[in-house]
């Protein structure tokens, strides 16, 4: 019988894999961020533009935006929008990487991934929170739901091992 409170070897091993993986990802992210260190103001400006849009868009504007970004996400590497629907509101989001990959391969994303294959992006704004919950649950390995992924959250999480 193992000692109470002492993690078994497999758990220790697993956490080590996770830590090293996070560190490697963080290193690459750091390298890329250094390359744009002179563009910090540009990043702030871009955020301001996007924030302005999130509060100013009409329902029709939202549909237009989603429709336009859907094409991006479905082509090649896709880089998508930065805006996802959450209920009636738009949530500012840095999810610019192809949802179809995340949803296709990440556990929990199967259902939504399947819907994406049917070009769900064009219907995204009307599906709202339910879709978003499934998407984020999928991308987060079924552990988090309804979490808007802001640049700060991503950066802090990725860099937390630094």
């Amino acid at each position: 019988m193992g000692e109470v409170g002492v993690p078994n070897q497999e758990m220790l091993h697993g956490q080590e894999v996770v830590d090293k993986t996070q560190r490697r990802v963080a290193e690459t992210l750091n390298e890329q961020q250094k390359k744009i260190s002179g563009e910090v103001n540009a990043f702030a400006a871009w955020r301001k533009c996007a924030d302005t849009l999130t509060t100013a868009l009409s329902p029709q504007d939202k549909k237009t935006l989603f429709a336009r970004f859907s094409g991006w996400s479905l082509k090649m590497a896709g880089y998508g929008s930065a805006l996802f629907a959450k209920g009636a509101d738009l949530v500012w989001n840095t999810v610019t990487w192809p949802p179809r990959f995340a949803l296709k391969y990440i556990p929990g994303g199967g259902l939504v991934g399947g819907l994406f294959q049917k070009d769900i992006f064009t219907k995204f704004s009307t599906l709202g929170a339910k879709v978003e919950e499934g998407m984020f649950r999928g991308m987060a390995g079924m552990r988090r739901t309804n979490e808007a992924i802001s640049p700060e959250i991503i950066t802090n999480r990725i860099l937390r091992t630094k």
């Binding site: 497999e10 758990m11 091993h13 697993g14 956490q15 894999v17 996770v18 090293k20 993986t21 996070q22 490697r24 990802v25 963080a26 290193e27 690459t28 992210l29 890329q32 961020q33 390359k35 744009i36 563009e39 103001n41 540009a42 990043f43 702030a44 400006a45 871009w46 301001k48 533009c49 996007a50 302005t52 849009l53 868009l57 504007d61 237009t64 935006l65 336009r68 991006w72 590497a77 880089y79 840095t94 999810v95 610019t96 990487w97 990959f101 995340a102 391969y105 990440i106 556990p107 991308m139 987060a140 390995g141 079924m142 552990r143 992924i149 640049p151 991503i154 950066t155 999480r157 990725i158």
Partner: protein, 105 residues
């Protein structure tokens, strides 16, 4: 990129690691890939126009925002996308090396 990612996911899924560890690995890969996009894309965004919009946010529209991002990702024969794919591939390769080190084949 898709092939590399698929390979990693298969290796992690088939491993004997606890589900929490698998979830954490998927989470790390997913978030890392997301986080890498904007640093790459920002290098190609027309800075002056962006600053102009930020100084006068009342002038930004859906179309102008779309144009801004489209230009950033499409200029120079899609160099931004090539850069992005290269960076993401680098991360996926790095993650693969870590998995190999821990015999997650």
């Amino acid at each position: 990129m898709e092939e590399k990612l698929n390979n990693l996911v298969q290796r992690i899924t088939a491993s004997s690691q606890p589900d929490e560890v698998k979830a954490e690995l998927f989470d790390t890969i997913s978030r890392g890939m997301h986080a890498l996009v904007w640093p790459v894309l920002l290098k190609y965004i027309p800075t002056e126009r962006l600053k102009g919009y930020a100084e006068h946010p009342e002038t930004i529209t859906v179309d102008s925002y779309i144009d801004l991002i489209s230009e950033a990702s499409g200029v120079q024969d899609g160099q931004a996308m090539k850069d992005l794919e290269q960076v993401v591939n680098t991360v996926l390769d790095d993650v693969g090396k870590v998995l190999t080190k821990y015999h997650i084949e």
